[in-house]
């Protein structure tokens, strides 16, 4: 038996618009999932097919430019990176095929692994605790109270400063000799720490700076989500005697799950690619304690000139980001399906 061809009328309850009717398509009031309309299998008319082909071209017309741009900006560089990663290409030199030698070298590159640990630690601290702080700020600053806008504005303000400028400002703030933070601590009788020169503290100091810069943005995203939670749900839970904490846990948090996915995914992938703060504030030091993978890639590519090797490091980072992204989306999506 010939399989029924797909048609736009096959989805249950699909109704062709008046515009569709005007173009000659039949007006359908109801259809079942087999494509049977009013007891007859509908295969579509010639005009319908033309309309379907036209709509495909229209869709392509809308999506095409964006797809082409994405391909040009993301797919093509990724392919080029992949090709470079199996060569010994040096900036300004010639490339020779080296197979998996670059990937094998990564395994023995201790600085790469130290950078990987630093990057992971940075991402976990920044995004893990940062999301909690953003959520806390969003919960505190949603609802109605006097001065709400001012508080939101103050927390959001650092977002308007570029990371590079922020890094320069914080390098000065953190200066243990003449920086204002340690000067203030000294007035309070506390010996301020060496924020950026203590190998145990430097990465934490960069995390603090990154929170200052980013929490405002993610707070705004979460405020929008929190304020979008249907009030009827919250009210119903309260009427049933649920405490504030239970309302938060069982109503608010499940409702803002898509927003949380956005926050964790975008912030997390950004954190895995952290470069500016380390480059400007510490240049990866002291004792490589703030060396991140992207800083390593940059150094290998543009200082050591080993573009082939740097490309293989970039490919490893891409793979890690894709795996993390895949699992994050899957985990959050599962929750959404359950809802």
């Amino acid at each position: 038996m010939r399989r029924p061809r797909k048609s736009f009328a096959r989805s249950p309850g699909h109704v062709v618009s008046a515009a569709g009717k005007a173009r000659g398509a039949p007006l359908l009031h109801a259809s079942d999932s087999t494509g049977t309309v009013m007891g007859r299998r509908w295969r579509g008319t010639g005009a319908g097919k033309r309309s379907r082909a036209g709509s495909r071209f229209t869709s392509l017309g809308f999506v095409g430019p964006a797809m082409a741009l994405l391909a040009l900006l993301y797919v093509v560089p990724t392919v080029i990176d992949g090709v470079y990663s199996i060569t010994n290409y040096q900036l300004g030199g010639r490339a020779q095929f080296v197979g998996d030698a670059n990937y094998a070298a990564i395994i023995h590159d201790s600085l790469f692994w130290q950078s990987a640990v630093n990057t992971l630690l940075f991402a976990v601290l920044t995004v893990g605790l940062g999301t909690l702080f953003s959520l806390g700020a969003a919960l505190l600053l949603s609802g109605t109270f006097v001065g709400k806008g001012i508080y939101r504005f103050i927390i959001y303000l650092p977002q308007s400063i570029s990371f590079a400028s922020g890094a320069v400002i914080w390098t000065w703030l953190y200066n243990s000799q003449n920086g204002p933070i340690d000067a203030l601590l000294e007035r309070l009788g506390i010996n301020g720490p060496a924020w950026l020169t203590d190998p145990h503290l430097a990465l934490i100091s960069i995390v603090l700076m990154s929170w200052w810069r980013d929490i405002g943005f993610y707070m705004v995203v979460l405020i929008a989500a929190v304020e979008g939670v249907p009030y009827a749900l919250v009210e119903a839970a309260r009427v049933d005697g649920a405490s504030r904490l239970r309302v938060l846990w069982h109503v608010t948090l499940p409702s803002i799950r898509p927003a949380m996915l956005f926050v964790v995914l975008t912030w997390g992938l950004g954190a895995l690619q952290m470069f500016t703060q380390s480059y400007i504030m510490t240049d990866g030091g002291p004792v490589n304690s703030t060396y991140t993978i992207v800083l390593k890639i940059y150094t290998d590519a543009f200082q050591a000139l080993h573009l082939g090797y740097a490309a293989s490091e970039a490919f490893v980072l891409l793979a890690v980001c894709m795996v993390i992204g895949f699992f994050a989306v899957r985990w959050f999506s599962r929750g959404l399906e359950n809802q």
Partner: protein
Amino acid sequence: MKQRTTVRGMRRRSRHIAASLSVFGLVGATFSASQIAAASTRTSKGQNVTITFLNVGASPQVLAYFNQTVIPDFEKINPNITVDMSTVPWGESFTKLQTSIVAGTADDVFVMGNIMLPTLASKHGLYPLTKFVKNWSMARDLNQPALKAGMWNGVQYAVPFNLDVRGLIYNKAMFKKAGITSPPSTWNEYRVDAAKLVQKSGGQIKVEGADWAIDNSVGLAQTFNLLLTEAGGQLFKQGPDGSATFTGNSAAGKKALNYLVSFYKSGISSTNFIDVGVAPPPIALGEAAMEINNASALADASPSVGSQLQMTLPLKATSTSKPVGMEFVNKLGIYAKTKHPMAAWSFVSYLYTPSVLSKWDSLLGEAPTEMSLAKTPAWSSGPFHAELVNAKYAQVFPVELQSTVIDEDLTSIVDAAIYQKESVSAALAQMKTQISPLLKG
């Protein structure tokens, strides 16, 4: 008739060939007289030419001097040439130069640091200046080892415009307060004095007895190299075939690194004092009593601190040895693919006008490469005179093809040693393992 025609035709053809050859020859000769002549002809015909100049590491004072005096004066003498200047900090200059050379967008004229030349020359990024320098009267007056440092594989690729000469800088007021009457001259005296000069509060160092120029760049590699040289060692040893072997992990290397680490172990120096590049170094801020640096520290200091700073001879490892310093030769180069080599060279040679070079170098606090300037009032006495004196004791910082990478690695290893994350022996072993392969590649 036919034959006559043929003969006439042959004659005509041979005349055509001869004429064509002579035209081609003329064109070829004109062309082979090179792009230099072409650029020169263009400018002499009145066509305006704009050249770009990357003035690496220029302070605001240097930029102001160039914008207000040097460039307008040059453009007055060369009305067809316009100079467009930009700057970039030292720490980012190598990446900037290298990527712009590969991308084909490098500036026509640029300032280069000591170790950049081999890499840029090997990437065919530098215009050969041998012919220019041969006919340049100023070349004879230049510091000859510094001029030689502008060569790679026998070709002159750059000309030196100043010497970053390291010597001992000390704070006279702090010495007086500590009861020290004269500056130290040996390693041992330096450590003893530094221990007396260090100032602490609540267990933390507030003023370092001695600062070692830790920065976010390759300052530590330079410091280690200087101490290594003072201890009688060298970073590389050249073989008869021109190949280099790493020798920084020798007995002299061990002595140098042990000496440096001892300052941090005994709490005379602190890793918290970092020269961030955008601010004066610790000695110029009154945060250190002594520092091995160039006279730029004097130029960068505030008047109250600067008046107390004095530069003197570099140290000697023992009382019987000679003071040994180190100099880093800063150079000017021309981009290999510049469209205006003649105009670029005109600008470069103009910068060697004695008054221009003297002012430029004094603003940078670095010694001029023109020997005749040593006799002028600006350099025969005054705060920068010591730098010229120290140049007599200085050795040119050793450079290899992979020096930019080697210095990064060396900095990282010495960093681990002074933070005591690695023992001195382990650090030296790591130097050998990490740097030796770079010399081969």
